[in-house]
Symmetry: C2
Subunit: 455 residues, 2 copies
């Protein structure tokens, strides 16, 4: 067991390939269906929105997909990221558990998001696309795509969920600094947005609505593609650089995790961490590995949603995806972890959950910030409110070890810093936060409108 606190890799150890879980799934993913025909979609259906290389990656069953040199060149700005042993947190908790965290907060936008943003912009640019439209919740994805757009000289248009646009102006200004155009969603720039505003001029927006706007934008302009920052298979694929590096680093530390925890909104950051590890659970090498997906009680997609085909967006423009869903009409309460408020979830994570390979847990907002503050004071890093969800459960599991006397190894997927989210911490300190459990009745109501799909 190494006594070091930091396990860093050389830049030559940035992975050369992404890991594709579709090569190793015990059962294949359910197909994605066309919203009209309800038949499985093909590449041609997606071509108006996505670069062909990304469409191929979406359905590929090759285990290793090469990372282009141009993408690795940009990765070098912050990758490999460091893995840390949280000795001071362990001491503060007085736990026999060994706690590690892999920290993605040193990227230029401060989160894991550019791991896929850079790849997506690269492939689009290579295929002649001049402009990309996207949506963003808390603004982490939008700012990451804006950063990637600046790296490759591609124009970026971001539809930002209205409540975050107001609550988190800093992310909007970051996008502007990188040269992207960011508007509050619902906006007047799309038919979808105008329709929603006609019904409700003060609509706080939702990720589902913003997706509708971005998809409409891309579908109606020849020079424009669409980009999604989570959920889709190719997005999770790009994020596996996190887990691939972490596996090397845990080996350097001489340990293998008993428990991996991470937060899930669309699921990409955490899947990026655990997919390279779950391979070992699937092939029987590490049958006892536990993977805990953490979501907010205010948006309990996996813990309280339905596993069913649903639209990815509010206006029913996207293909139908088999996933845990709270219904595409779900409008989450304006909690501060804006990145975790999506009605659906990455199909890969949902599928693994159905197969019993991963678990899910929902946590409340106030104990989540409590964990974030404890982590900041022990480890020195102020985390994004999203990340605080992972830290909450990491601490909970470490405290269980304290009770049982077990010395488990816990690996936390740390998705980014919270420097742009200090207003949320301010709300916590000033007692303005409330725990919010989404009412079962409202979930039932939102789920009543699920599309009918032949068995």
């Amino acid at each position: 067991m190494d006594k070091r606190t930091k396990f860093s890799l050389d830049e030559n150890q940035i992975p050369t390939h992404w890991y594709n879980i579709q090569a190793d799934l015990p059962q294949p993913l359910p197909p994605v269906l066309h919203p009209g025909t309800k038949k499985p979609i093909g590449p041609a259906d997606l071509a108006p929105l996505f670069a062909m290389e990304l469409i191929k990656q979406e359905v590929s069953t090759e285990r290793w997909i090469e990372i282009p040199d141009e993408v690795r060149d940009i990765y070098r700005l912050w990758r490999p990221t460091n893995l840390f042993r949280a000795y001071r947190l362990e001491k503060a908790l007085d736990t026999p558990a060994k706690i590690f965290y892999k920290y993605e907060g040193t990227s230029p936008p401060g989160s894991h998001k550019p791991n896929t943003a850079v790849a997506q912009v690269y492939y689009n640019k290579k295929e002649g696309i001049k402009r990309i439209a996207t949506e963003t919740g808390a603004g982490q994805w939008g700012s990451a795509l804006a950063f990637a757009g600046a790296c490759f000289g591609v124009e970026i248009k971001v539809y930002m969920v209205a409540v975050s646009y107001q609550q988190k102006p800093y992310r909007r200004i970051m996008m502007q600094t990188w040269g992207a155009k960011c508007v509050s969603s619902p906006s007047r720039d799309t038919r979808t947005g105008r329709d929603i505003l006609a019904r409700d001029p003060n609509c706080p927006g939702s990720l589902g609505m913003a997706i509708s706007e971005a998809v409409e934008d891309a579908a109606t302009r020849d020079d424009t593609h669409y980009s999604l920052g989570s959920v889709l298979n190719h997005v999770l694929l790009h994020q596996t650089v996190i887990g691939l590096e972490a596996k090397e680093q845990m080996e350097m530390a001489g340990v293998y995790p008993d428990i991996i925890v991470g937060c899930i909104g669309g699921g990409s950051n955490f899947a990026g961490m655990f997919l390279p590890f779950i391979k070992d659970k699937i092939d029987g090498t590490k049958p006892d590995l536990r993977i805990i997906n953490v979501e907010p009680e205010s948006c309990p997609t996996v813990t309280k949603g339905l596993y069913a085909y649903d639209f990815g967006d509010e206006a029913k423009l996207t293909p139908l995806i088999k996933m845990y869903t709270l219904g595409h009409g779900f409008i989450p309460p304006p909690v501060h972890a804006g990145g975790l408020r999506y009605h659906g979830m990455a199909p890969i994570i949902c599928h693994l959950h159905r197969l019993g390979l991963v678990e899910a847990r929902a946590v409340h907002q106030i104990p989540t910030f409590e964990a974030g503050v404890q982590f900041a004071r022990a480890e020195g890093i102020i985390s994004a409110p999203e990340t605080d969800h992972a830290i909450r459960v990491g601490i909970d599991e470490a405290l269980k070890c304290k009770e049982s006397g077990e010395s488990k190894t816990i690996l936390i997927a740390h998705s980014g810093h919270g420097h742009v989210d200090m207003a949320a911490y301010d709300a916590y300190f000033s007692g303005k936060l409330e725990d919010y459990e989404y009412p079962e009745a409202k979930i039932k109501e939102a789920l009543a409108d699920l599309p009918k799909v032949p068995a």
Copy 2:
């Protein structure tokens, strides 16, 4: 010449010693004088405010001072920091110059400041101190000391210049998250603060006033010491980890800088970069090395101030320091680079300026943000407004190379990210910024009150 964009060191290459320029100065620094007797002060005069080890470092002429293991352990969280070749910026400028930057923005508080904060808190803790009082301008120093306080379990009280306290709430909340207490200065917590507020209830504050408050706090409490985030010799000493690493990294890149640029407020970040290099200019190895200190036109300490003995604070509590000064009564306009608004300057920088070993240049606010935006779009990193001053002159020098056809090597000291300063960028984008040149008449007025010191 290496074609890489990033030059990273292994964590074992974190320097083991700080470099002390006082061993190599062609003439010694002028003594610091007691404010009452006007005689050189001794260790006993400083003992109520500083740890004895820091007082020793302040006057030491040993060339190398060992970095304690406990300090290096914390440094590991973000050190060694990366050196980058700015290929994309060079291309955007179409310059034959080679531009490098050393990036301190990956530390937990996002700037270079913890390099000394961690050391100062460590020595104070070791000498039994339970509580440290300090001042902060833009909040970078206060948040760095709060971070260091959390690392070692020492209580931190921060007096934050009122205008920044209002303009930059995020830094205040960061301090709170790390467990520090932060108040707006002038405050009601000290006699100095109460006196100022009695004269001017809406006083925007100044670094000089905040220093007075923190010094009074420390001087009137037995369990409390004072800490300064810049100016003093021991602070610059701790920052030399930047330049020592950069020297190794420039060697990895196979180049030596022709020009080093950095921003100066109190001077510590930039001195930390250039001191290990200036050694080569002093000993004649690199006679042509140019070192450009960049300050704002709104606070032109070196370019328009007087080289004279002055107080470090507004209330005349500190010893007298020989430095360039705009007068201890100087109240800077509320420009956005809050970290560059101090009336004085590090005596080491001033001394080197008098010896003709370094240059100074003042720049305006709007072209500074222009440079920051250009840098963000080319290099992907959004910089602190302070850092944008260094980038402005780095770009200007690269553009001169374009005219002359010279291929100079320019090294920029990049002191931190701007994620917490997005309101300043917003003001820039929305046309609310104005260039502000400090009126010569007002400087003269402030300088009229300099203390009289026998020759």
